[in-house]
Amino acid sequence: MNRGAGPSAGESVAVRYTRVISVVVVLIVAVWHFGYDSLILVRGWSRYEPAWAALASWLVLSAVQLVGSVLLLRGALRGPPAPLLTCVALLAGVVAVAAYPRGGAISDLSWAANTVGWFGVLLLAQRPMRELVALLACTVALTTVALGAHGELGTGEAWARLIAQSYTTAGIQLAFVLLSRELHHAARLTADAARAQADRMARRAAGEALHAERRRRYRYLRDRIAPLLHELAEGRAHPGDEGVRRASAIEAARLRRLFAETEDADHPLLHELRACADVAERRDVDVTFVCYGELPDLPVAVRRRLTDGPILALASARNTARVTVVVTAGEVTVGVVADASAGAVPRAVRSAGTSVLFDEKENLLWLESRWRLPVPRSTSASSTTTRW
């Protein structure tokens, strides 16, 4: 049973989901930094103290952003580079905030704290949650310290602005990350559930097949073997009777075929025929078994049609039997030649596909079962013969 498709499908859902989230984060950060930050920087260029510090900070953050994006899309941000790049981004942020003029900590000149927060979302996406929380706390602290350093924390209005600012920057970033992680988790759960469901269905199908197979074998035993055993037990049939011995030999061979049918063999037809031959050999019949040609896969019903006659011939053989299997381009032919009596194979078995000949001159029963392959196979496709 192939259950390999389940895990790989679930895995690929999770992988694709992670990739989409990564691309979204990369786009948000790129638009934010190269769009919004650049605009703010250009507009307030003359007011930063000094302007080159703001520019240097912007450049460093640009570099970190490019490296971080590439690493994230390659799934390489699980290790130490992530916190390292985050620290660089945070330091650049500190420099940028330090270059704000008085009264600029929360104004149309401030950009760095929010940007560093988004950098955290990008760089720490595949790291433990606490690292991101710590970084966001640092960005809030950065703005708070900047306000304090400029002596602007004296009023309630300043605190209200700080809270509102933090809520719309660090708060949104935190919410974004929590939401994406939750969705990721849900996707994984869904994939797992689908896989478990497929497993259950496969197990149920296997169970049903097993049950049906058991019922089939039970029906067979009930209909064919039980009456014979009953008659023997009740003394109505005598083991010394040639007919009873023959019937027993036939049922023994059929039982072996029944068991052989459910065994896993390279060539089930040969396996089943060998099982029948084996029963005959136990009666000291000298059985020759030869097979030529490459056997195709045959369904159980076809194998039964091909073995029904041979079972009877083998079970009736007195001393010798020759079993041959020949596969040609269009047909599978099973032949049995045995020193059995003419009546060994009843007329009912002589169906289409099985022909029986009793050669009186040589006193041999010669049975042949044929199965025409439904689709003519190409003559070259299955050839294993190497010739000059």
């Binding site: 030869v290 032919t333 041999l364 010669w366 042949e368 003559t379 050839s383 013969t385 010739r387």
Partner: protein
């Protein structure tokens, strides 16, 4: 062509002395056959000149297919007598140009038929070879007629040409002809060998095939006028 009137010289090369002794005993019962050479190694394949050489396929602990092919290419008449029954091996051996392949479990009668046929450049197909030929589905396999296929298949199944004849409703001679024709068709394909040409020439003499039927054969060169 084998000498007529004088005894047929047969060689036996097999790595088991018991097989040599056994085959020698079988041949001793046959009038007009004497064993002129025996040996157990690859070198013994080339030593001695006999009319027909009965050779085992495994000598000196290896498969001697290439040595067999060389001997056939030199025009030596060979009957391979082997315990191997693998179909691709049987086909490969026949393709080298040997006159016949008899498996060791086929026994005395088939080996004797094969030796006599080889001496006369005539085909002989024991049941195992028949099974191999009828199940051959390689692209280079010659096209066999329905009667030829049926004869090969039933000969393989029953090992009795009389039974096959009764089942087909024809004479034993006709069954034998179908089987020989199938073998002759195999002599027309694959690697050229003098033994194959000899067999084809004899098949025409015997009326088994006509020169026209051999026109496309790689083995057959019509004699110069």
């Amino acid at each position: 062509m084998a000498p007529t009137g004088t005894a047929l010289d047969v060689g036996i090369v097999d790595d088991h002395p018991v097989v040599i002794d056994g085959v020698r005993a079988w041949l001793a019962e046959e009038p007009g056959i004497r064993v002129g050479h025996t040996g157990e190694t690859t070198a013994d394949l080339r030593a001695g000149t006999v009319d027909v050489l009965i050779a085992d396929l495994s000598l000196d602990g290896r498969l001697v297919l290439s040595d067999i092919a060389e001997l056939a290419a030199e025009g030596r008449r060979l009957v391979v007598f082997s315990q191997f029954t693998d179909e691709s091996l049987v086909l490969d051996v026949l393709n080298t140009g040997v006159n016949g392949f008899v498996t060791k479990n086929e026994g005395q009668a088939h080996l004797l038929h094969a030796v006599r046929a080889a001496a006369a450049d005539r085909p002989y197909v024991p049941p195992t070879t028949a099974g191999v030929l009828v199940s051959d589905r390689s692209p280079v396999a010659p096209r066999l007629s329905q009667q030829e296929r049926t004869s090969l298949l039933w000969w393989f199944q029953s090992m009795s040409k009389a039974s096959v004849a009764r089942r087909m409703g024809v004479s034993v001679h006709t069954v034998d002809m179908y089987i020989k024709r199938a073998r002759v068709k195999y002599a027309q394909v694959g690697r050229p060998a003098p033994t194959k040409s000899d067999m084809l020439a004899r098949a025409i003499e015997d009326g088994l095939v006509t020169p026209a039927e051999l026109a496309g054969s790689a083995q057959w060169r019509p004699p110069a006028p």
